[in-house]
Every structure is written in C-alpha cells, then in structure tokens.
Amino acid sequence: SSAKPARAVSHPLEYSWTFWFDSPAAKSRQTAWGSSMRPIYTFSTVEEFWSIYNNIHHPSKLAHRTDFYCFKHKIEPKWEDPVCANGGNWTMGISKAKLDNSWLYTLLAMIGEQFDHGEEICGAVVNVRARQEKIAMWTKNATNEGAQVSIGRQWKRLLDSNESIGFIFHDDAIKLDKGAKNKYTA
C-alpha cells in the first residue's frame, strides 16, 4: 500500500488577493459601470495563485471587452472604493505577442512584493480589446509623486518596456473621462 503523501508546505503571500472578472456578456446586461464585475476567488498563498492561474484563460484567449482584475483583498476595483478614491493608475498598451507574459509578470511582481512602494498598490487590471490590450496598475495616493513614479519605473523594468507610460489621477478620469491628462510619466 502506498504511504500518504506528506502535507505540502504552502507559501503565504504578504497580502491576500482577489481575482475579479467582467465579461462582455455581463456588461451588456448592465447599465451602470462596474455593476457587472464580480469577485471570482481570493487567494493567500503562492500555491493557491497557481491553482487558479493554471486553470483560467490567459488574456490572449479572453473575449474582447473582457476585463480581468487582481486586487488586494477588500479593495474593490472601482474609483469610488475608499482606498482607490484618492489614487490613480499607470496604463501600458501591450502588443498581443507580449500580452500573456506581461500580465503574468505584473501579477508575480505584485503578489511577490517586488515593488519598493508595494504598500501603495491596489491591484492591476488587463483590458482585452480588439484594437489594443492594456494593463493598468492602480495605486492609492496619487499625490505621492515619488511613490507613483517609482512604481511606474519599476513596472517598466519588470516588463522590459521602453515605451513611455502615463499616470492619471482617478479624480481627473471621473471629471474629464478621455480628456484626463497624464500627471506623471515614466
């Protein structure tokens, strides 16, 4: 008879993180932005992360108009969340060829606490669109310029990106929508 396998050691993450999903089908049934996204699973260990990640479609296989989020547990990926309200986000346009790796490397850097100002990070979202996929990193305190620029620069290095990226305050996005301008660049 075979021996019972020893209980595997699990590696706890610094934070718990939640995956959220917003599908085109769900969006088309709702009128209010943000009302169709929903949390899928909250993970707290390295092992749990891979258990999910290995069983879900990577961004290149998701339907257009899908948004997929990974945010710290209890922070909702919405401007009006109290933690997000004073924040902003860095956005990077990603080529289709680099999309899956860019998303994975962003996730690993966040959950593995590889950012010097990780405490500022709320989470990240990948927007799957026909014209151009984007990944955005949301942060808490937009006016903390030093922390935001540090995050933007480190993110570019992690993704081996040479393109200029911009940071928009959520306040401006709410007031000006597409007219919001980058307050910082990296």
Partner: protein, 54 residues
C-alpha cells in the same frame, strides 16, 4: 527594507522563485465555484458543469 506593520519582514518572492511552483499546482482549489458565467468565458479545465437555467 521590508518590515511590514507588525515589524516582521514582508514576504517577498522573486519572479523566478514563484515560477518554480507553476507546474506543481495544477488543480483548482476544492472550494472554487465554477458558475455558469465563468465556465466557458474563463475556465480552461475540462470539467462537466451543470448549467443552471436563468
């Protein structure tokens, strides 16, 4: 640098270290709920899902 609010070292894992686990954890967690809205849109595994009618 690396102390969190409790004065303990923050749990940092490099990309390379995290990637070493990617082959080991291939099953969804037991308590993961595959609802009909994500069964096809998001989930890869070949699992028979009973679809609830709306």
């Amino acid at each position: 640098r690396g102390e969190d609010g409790n004065g303990e070292m923050a749990k940092k894992y490099s990309r390379d270290f995290l990637l070493t686990f990617s082959d080991q954890c291939t099953d969804l967690p037991e308590e993961f709920e595959i609802t009909s809205d994500i069964a096809e849109a998001l989930i890869v595994s070949n699992i028979n899902v009973s679809r609830e009618s709306f």
